[in-house]
């Protein structure tokens, strides 16, 4: 099968890739670019562990073919930390102990980032809606919601 040319920007870095017809964005990120922070959970769009940001929107990278996002800007969990240190969301997740096993955390962070990028002062309901596609089997969600609230406050300052 013929390969397809794709140009994507991931966490600010440009990549020219040849991808297979059936290659999902999740596969490209993990297997080609070795960005293994993005997790594969259910593979059918139910759990949100594979959430990344594509052109400012949270999407399940298991349900998107890489060739479909040609020309797009993608942010993964690896794009959060900068030279100046951890991102306010990461600090808040640690501070509020919003992590237990950690498998859902990259997806949670991406959904939260997509929200805060468009709404810097979300209500609790808006946070819950933004995170409704992300399952966590450890924390019971409260700490995660607290962390997003904290990040919004810190970030706003």
């Amino acid at each position: 099968m013929a390969k397809l040319d794709v140009e994507i920007t991931v966490n600010g870095d440009k990549y020219k890739l040849e991808v297979g017809s059936q290659e999902r964005l999740l596969d490209t990120l993990r297997d080609e670019l070795k960005l293994t922070g993005t997790k594969e959970g259910c593979s059918v769009g139910e759990c949100g562990a594979c959430t990344v940001i594509v052109d400012d929107q949270a999407v399940n990278s298991c349900l998107v073919l890489t060739a479909q996002v040609d020309g797009s800007e993608i942010i993964t969990v690896e794009g959060l930390e900068s030279k100046s240190g951890l991102h306010p969301l990461q600090i808040a997740f640690i501070e509020k102990q919003a992590i237990q096993c950690g498998f859902c955390t990259p997806g949670m962070l991406m959904s939260a980032l997509a929200l805060l990028n468009t709404n810097s002062n979300p209500t609790k309901e808006e946070i819950k809606t933004a995170l409704e596609g992300n399952l966590c089997r450890c924390t019971g969600y409260q700490q995660i919601i607290d962390a997003v609230e904290m990040a919004a406050e810190e970030w706003g300052v």
Binding site: A58, V64, L65, A67, Q68, A114, E132, G133
Partner: protein, 291 residues
């Protein structure tokens, strides 16, 4: 094993050309249903040779609401329907249905056209659009034809669209005069729930009476249909003459008449009855009728 070559179209003309020339082509839009089926090696797709990605085709995108008529491009996402200010103001039941679908991630990708063409029995986009009397514009290289949405689905996952056609847009007349609407849905949980039952009520009222009414089933029946007996019961009645509970019972009878008694009937019958009752009560309340 499901294997395919991905083709990417960048214009409607290109889509129609490919559909005219190649066989065994499956169109890919948002992919939130199709990618799941492909990943799970659904035997339904064993025969496809090509997957045609249309997500970059600008002609299939956008919402236009004029004073009398409206159209929604097939690639409009549920997130766009949920946040569009004109939809919110003029057709809130469409926004409510779009908002009830999936999760934020799903709504960002899933398209209204995909929801209609996939035609799952639980698809949430049908009932609001059938209530509007919407038509679908199906385009092939030879031209376009219009199909009433109500006549589009033959059976779950089976529609009248042909292999060489693509759904271009959904067109409808805007409701006139004073009108009220309600979208109701029951799922097993809030987010990502598959509709067990859903319905849309759209009513045009005049002088404390119902001038026109459409109550349309969502997941209650194999293919979404208007509840004709309920509509007949409610039409031309004054608010004082309407018994919401009776409307609910009529709808429940009508549903069981269509589906027959099933294992789920003891749950669905009273649930649908209450949903219709609630929708009618919402209508009366919104219209300012206090009994």
């Amino acid at each position: 094993m499901v294997e395919y070559q991905l083709l990417r179209a960048h214009s409607l003309e290109e889509v129609l050309e490919i559909l005219a020339k190649k066989k065994k082509v499956q169109i890919l839009a948002g992919g939130t249903d199709l990618m799941v089926d492909l990943h799970q090696q659904d035997p339904k797709f064993e025969n496809i040779d090509y997957l045609l990605d249309i997500t970059d085709v600008a002609e299939l995108k956008g919402i236009k609401l004029g004073p009398e008529e409206g159209e929604i491009g097939a690639l409009t996402t549920h997130a766009e329907l949920l946040t569009n200010p004109e939809i919110k103001e003029k057709l809130p039941f469409i926004g409510a249905a779009a908002g009830s679908i999936g999760s934020t991630q799903i709504r960002n990708r899933a398209t209204i056209g995909g929801n209609l063409v996939n035609a799952a029995a639980c698809a949430d986009s049908f009932s609001p659009l059938i209530a509007l009397g919407a038509e679908l514009v199906l385009r092939s290289k030879g031209g376009a034809r219009r199909v009433l949405l109500e006549d589009f689905v033959e059976w779950p996952n089976q529609t009248v669209i042909k292999d060489n056609e693509v759904l271009e847009k959904i067109v409808f007349k805007l409701p006139r005069g004073e009108y009220y609407s309600s979208y109701q849905k029951i799922g097993r949980r809030n987010a990502l729930s598959i509709s067990r039952l859903s319905l849309t009520l759209l009513a045009e009222v005049e002088n404390e009476a119902i001038k026109n009414i459409q109550v349309v089933s969502g997941a209650a029946t194999p293919a979404p249909v208007p509840f004709r007996k309920v509509n007949k019961y409610l039409k031309a009645k004054t608010f004082a003459e309407i018994d919401p509970a009776a409307a609910g019972e009529i709808a429940a009878d009508e549903m069981v008449g269509i589906t027959g008694e099933r294992w789920s009937t003891p749950y669905k019958r009273p649930a649908l009855s209450k949903l219709v009752e609630r929708a009618v009560k919402d209508l009366l309340e919104e219209a300012g009728y206090n009994g």
